[in-house]
């Protein structure tokens, strides 16, 4: 202990004067299933934090005529009937600071990675009214996911809300993690909120992020399957509050909510225990508002308000591909588009298993660089024609040359859109391979060799064509200088590959 600390202690003890304090208190009437019913506390506000004698905090959710229904944010052991509950006068908030980056925290913002305390500079409320119209501007800057199928056909902009939806085991989390990996050096802070997931799965995700150096700009908020329902309900709001801290500093933030179906289940459980009337699928009446008020906090602020952005990628798990269920339709209607993943495509080996027909981005090409716009428009048309022709081609073998050419082109574009996990592609490499595909440069490459070709081509672009790639990344367009050179590079490499 330093002498400064000792002298500070001495000063505090010398200055200590016996004083009384006044607090508002209530009494626990009943406790069970993570819910406490409290009498008294007539001054308590909605969403106020309450303190139980064992140091656990509660969250006042139901203010009734004579009692308060509060959810317990932690262990219920040690809370008994007749215990005194103190009101704190605080609205639930999470501690935030720059030091939270690279850490794994729980839904209350407390570290759970064993790396010590996180010194907080501020507290941000978990529930906050979304920024108003005056503070916003339209989404215009791309947020590259590094996934070719998404960046080309379902582009996401900074400040957008894009839903990732699909059955279990279709690669929803994989898309989210690849998107985080692709943000290295992109000046974007990532927050991954894991809700109701197995701790082993989250540990694997964190280790992958560490392995790829992505924890340097990422925070993980975890409310696992073993955590109480109130924490699972709270985690997305906490993740959003942490994101808002950085947005207020003018930074760009990406928040991934994995997944909101489990948050809805947790909220349903809490609501039923609080005796709120159940509605469709036993969800409470305000289940839409649960997600809309969270996702409305995604924002692209204008320059007068700092110019920061918060992009939201909520994930929803469907049951047997049913997108018309209650929660999926709610979140589809709230977000600015969806990436729909299909089990059939996944098992056919098309990974990421994105159904480009059902997927959409309502912000669209406003969030694409010019070069991508040029190749993506043509590609969408080619793919649509390919899908139509492929259905008819199943019934007959006599195909004219044009049809056969279109089928061949479509098959190659489909191959170009396949991508292994943890291998996000930089945007300049994406536009280069897509340029080659849509302009017929790959028509002579056998479909079976497409994966090898792509891998070798990317290596070549990275190592031997670094100057061209830098130019393409900076200019963001096929300028009269770049386009002929790119054509030459593709032609030369194709000749080399075919000879080999």
């Amino acid at each position: 202990m330093s002498s400064d600390t000792i002298s500070l202690f001495k000063k505090h003890i010398q200055d200590f004067r016996a004083k009384s304090t006044t607090e508002h208190v209530g009494t626990v009437l009943e406790v069970g299933d993570g819910i406490a019913r409290i009498s008294g506390l007539k001054e308590a506000k909605s969403s106020e934090v309450l303190e139980f004698p064992n140091g656990t905090f509660g969250w006042a959710l139901n203010l009734e005529e004579d009692t308060i229904g509060a959810v317990i944010l932690g262990e219920t052991e040690g809370i008994h009937e007749g215990d005194t509950v103190k009101s704190t006068g605080r609205i639930l908030s999470v501690p935030v600071s720059e030091k939270i980056i690279g850490r794994v925290v729980n839904a209350l913002g407390q570290p759970i990675d064993g790396k010590g305390a996180i010194p907080a500079t501020e507290f941000y409320p978990v529930e906050k009214v979304a920024p108003g119209v005056i503070t916003r501007k339209s989404v215009s800057r791309p947020m590259q996911t590094g996934i070719r199928a998404i960046d080309a056909m379902i582009p996401i902009g900074r400040g957008q809300r894009e839903l990732i939806i699909g059955d279990r085991q279709t690669g929803k989390t994989a898309i989210a993690i690849d998107t985080i990996l692709n943000q290295k050096g992109q000046d974007l802070i990532c927050i991954y909120v894991a809700i109701g997931q197995k701790a082993s799965k989250v540990a694997k995700i964190v280790s992958e992020l560490e392995k790829h150096g992505a924890m340097e700009y990422t925070t993980v908020v975890l409310a696992g399957a073993s955590d109480p329902a109130p924490l699972q309900f709270l985690a997305p709001y906490s993740g959003c509050a942490i994101g808002e801290y950085f947005v207020d500093k003018g930074k760009d933030v990406l928040v991934i909510y994995d997944d909101l179906s489990k948050q809805a289940w947790a909220y349903r459980q809490i609501s039923l225990l609080l005796k709120r009337p159940p509605g469709r699928e036993a969800y409470p009446g305000d289940i839409f508002y649960l997600h809309s008020r969270l996702l409305e906090r995604a924002v692209c602020l204008n320059e007068q308000h700092g110019g920061g952005s918060l992009t939201a990628l909520p994930i929803i798990e469907t049951q047997s591909g049913d997108v018309s269920a209650y929660i999926p339709t709610n979140v589809i209607s709230i977000t600015d588009g969806q990436i729909y993943l299909e089990s059939d495509l996944f098992f056919k080996g098309i990974r990421p298993a994105v159904n480009v027909g059902l997927s959409v981005s309502r912000v669209g090409s406003a969030a694409q660089i010019k070069a991508m716009k040029k190749v993506a428009g043509k590609m969408r048309l080619d793919l649509a024609q390919y899908r139509e022709l492929a259905v008819f081609a199943q019934f007959g073998t006599d195909l004219d040359a044009d049809t056969k050419k279109q089928l061949d082109r479509g098959a190659r574009i489909t191959e170009v859109l396949k991508q292994p996990q943890y291998e996000p592609t930089p945007v300049e490499q994406q536009v280069s391979i897509l340029y080659a595909a849509v302009n017929g440069y790959l028509d002579e490459i056998p479909v079976a060799d497409m994966m090898d070709f792509q891998r070798a081509f990317f290596e070549h672009l990275k190592n031997a064509q670094a100057k061209l790639m830098t130019e393409l990344r900076e200019k963001k367009d096929f300028t009269p200088e770049i386009e002929p050179e790119l054509k030459k590079v593709i032609g030369d490499f194709k000749a080399y590959f075919l000879k080999k």
């Binding site: 202690f9 505090h12 003890i13 200590f16 016996a18 004083k19 009384s20 304090t21 006044t22 607090e23 508002h24 208190v25 209530g26 009437l29 009498s39 008294g40 506390l41 007539k42 001054e43 005529e65 004579d66 009692t67 005194t84 103190k86």
Partner: protein, 130 residues
């Protein structure tokens, strides 16, 4: 329509104001609750009824938490002082808790005044933690 605990409590107090308390009244009240399947509300109803009755009669419930039980003289002085400052009749109850160390804590309605040694040490600990 299901009645709330407060509605039952109001009805009970109103009835007892006009009629003397009897075993029949209590039995009838309990059977009504049971018939309406609301007998689990009994505890809360009595608590609210007690509050209503005390409020109407200008009585304030005060609980004194002390490390060592107060003697009769101290208790009388405390009651007189509280009645003087609150300008209401006091129903004082004391609870002994040796962990408080010394001093006194008072719970008046929803308010908790803490002037105990334990409370002051706790505040000192919070200051050091900061």
């Amino acid at each position: 329509m299901r009645m709330t605990a407060r509605q039952y409590a109001n009805a009970l107090v109103d009835f007892l104001k006009k009629n003397p308390a009897s075993q029949e009244t209590a039995a009838s009240f309990l059977s009504t609750l049971r018939k309406n399947r609301q007998d689990r509300l009994l505890g809360r109803i009595l608590m609210i009824a007690d509050d209503i009755w005390k409020k109407e009669n200008g009585i304030v419930s005060v609980t004194a938490y002390v490390a060592k039980t107060l003697d009769a003289a101290a208790l009388t002085k405390l009651t007189t002082d509280l009645e003087k400052s609150l300008k209401k009749k006091i129903s004082l109850q004391q609870k002994e808790n040796p962990a408080l160390g010394g001093g006194i804590a008072l719970k008046v309605g929803d308010l908790y005044f803490d002037a105990t040694v334990a409370g002051q040490l706790q505040r000192l600990r919070v200051t050091f933690d900061k």
